[in-house]
Symmetry: none
Subunit: 209 residues, 4 copies
Amino acid sequence: MPSYLVSRYQGWHATSYAENRAWYRRLAEEGQRPRSMIIACCDSRVHVTSMFGADQGEFFIHRNIANLVPEFTPDGDHHGTSAAIEYAVKNLKVAHLIVLGHSSCGGVAGCHAMCAGEAPELEEKSSFVGTWLNLLRPGYERVLELPAEQQIVALEREAVKVSLENLMTFPFVREALDADRMTLHGLRHDIGEGTLEQYDSDSDQFELI
Amino acid sequence: MPSYLVSRYQGWHATSYAENRAWYRRLAEEGQRPRSMIIACCDSRVHVTSMFGADQGEFFIHRNIANLVPEFTPDGDHHGTSAAIEYAVKNLKVAHLIVLGHSSCGGVAGCHAMCAGEAPELEEKSSFVGTWLNLLRPGYERVLELPAEQQIVALEREAVKVSLENLMTFPFVREALDADRMTLHGLRHDIGEGTLEQYDSDSDQFELI
Amino acid sequence: MPSYLVSRYQGWHATSYAENRAWYRRLAEEGQRPRSMIIACCDSRVHVTSMFGADQGEFFIHRNIANLVPEFTPDGDHHGTSAAIEYAVKNLKVAHLIVLGHSSCGGVAGCHAMCAGEAPELEEKSSFVGTWLNLLRPGYERVLELPAEQQIVALEREAVKVSLENLMTFPFVREALDADRMTLHGLRHDIGEGTLEQYDSDSDQFELI
Amino acid sequence: MPSYLVSRYQGWHATSYAENRAWYRRLAEEGQRPRSMIIACCDSRVHVTSMFGADQGEFFIHRNIANLVPEFTPDGDHHGTSAAIEYAVKNLKVAHLIVLGHSSCGGVAGCHAMCAGEAPELEEKSSFVGTWLNLLRPGYERVLELPAEQQIVALEREAVKVSLENLMTFPFVREALDADRMTLHGLRHDIGEGTLEQYDSDSDQFELI
């Protein structure tokens, strides 16, 4: 392992771990009981736990390119995102399911370029990134009518909305929501401004928190 | 959003964000430039950024159930994990690619139960979790000869090794490694003890850091 | 202090405290003037201030195991609960004195087990918990005639009633009530349902609010 | 119940409860698993959960006059504080035990007056408050040498230190500390300034966080 990570890990073990050893041991013995699942982007600038003041044990976190959720497709293929959602909802019984999008998302920008025909390399069947970003194509259709300079931000919001829509195609998500066992939330974080906006399904708008 | 998360977010914005605004704005304007990609489990007890003393911008993080990587399969289907790896290696050109497993992993335990025929619900085609955990089946074959009480920990290590092996089937991963543009690491974290062990391919052993 | 609490505290200081600094300074200079005293359980799931929308300065709160009040016993020994009540009634002259019980109370369940002879460890003289829960033994006698499955909830209500009865043995409580300077209330909170029921001394029943 | 509390409770039920129903139900069904116990003063101006960004389920809270802990005295009498500590350490196995003192504490000021012979009413055997505050008398002896205007703040700090010392007389507290199953912390909160200082046993000083 790179030595700078070894040093940092050792520092963590001598301080934060040492101070919280008792809690970490209990978490190890008794298992996790996270209150929320967060689906966020892999982007290195999105720091979920820091933003929500969390330490070990609070959030079950799935991160993929552009925080996308595919439709419910039980075809026997490997679906990592769907597996994480199934585990969180059915096994861990999380109380909140949160989709967290963000500004300056490389995945969203890539999807926009691809859909606009400006990124042929993403349209190749061999591009995992392009194939994955196809999940956001329905969002692209909905931002086309906007002025060009507004399309990217709008598509970042669509990445949250499309995921919320697709989540509703999972029977166990629907059931948990219908039975008031879980709530669903869509957020978009602005990295530069540090702000957070929340999707309101009644107004179909994102509103600043 | 739950109100306690709103309070915590607002606290973060007034402190950590406020103190680092200049850096966050640069990250927003200039884009991310993470040094490493980490593939970790969704488990709420695995706190990657805390353990490596990281803040915004350092780690491109993909998290899925049991930190698994499938084989290279460019079939035009959605592959979230493969997309994240492709983006990290080809676009972001990360210098280190790290697979981080952990103790008491619910996914690994589920895979063990499924392969032992004790979890028929995971073997159903409709189980996303079961289908996903099939990726670890080759690891199960390799721990079968061990005494029963050692199999789970051994399978947690296999979850790292299988992922490392599958990573080598990606041409762009191989190329980056061959050109010395990237290094590859496998780790397993013990949640209760706070320890970290590293896979050594020469000895085929995990060694405590 | 655990670092996650340091972060959260700093967030609070930069937001909630900063916005209310003038009020906090007045509270510090002029002293507290709480309108009510609440006697509640230590249980982490009973969130008194949240439920009553309170912030700094409104409630004088004593919390002990199972929200129990002992009888008036001025024997010169340390009586923390009686001291808190004396201070609230005589010095602070609170207008309302509220006993707040709750569902799934570990203390009440422990008392039930102890009285039923199923928890010998609590009957040992060295068990502070057992000795404390003896205060609720008169309540146990009164729920014995009920079907077994109703006894625990009934005993949770008795924990409120016994405390109200014992409060009436304090001369200064009686005086404040007789002089109409204070009112007395008994509540039971259901954690899962979020409901609140109030004791009505006329009907000797708890009624949903 | 006073109608303003009914209104606030109903508001809480329609908003915060409704949004978190799933979590509250799980807490009700599965029991509490608080990470920390906090021993704080009943004072209405000390808002523990707000300061630490907590919602239901995180802190097991005992509150008494002046956040005092008596010595270990297993004499078969009712000891509410000792019972709460026993339950937290032995049953709930909390990872952190935190004593939280505060500025402008009426109990501490009362103890100072009583020990200085200026509050004869507190010295009467029938005064629960005076008898309770006797627990802090050893602290009074230690602040006597200071200039008069520094004695009250020093005695507030002693209220934390005396409690920490007395906690060490409980065998199960000592055992949990020795076995690294728990950590112990002493804090003093300044209500007007919103600051928090932490006791450092090495330097025997309180240091600002």
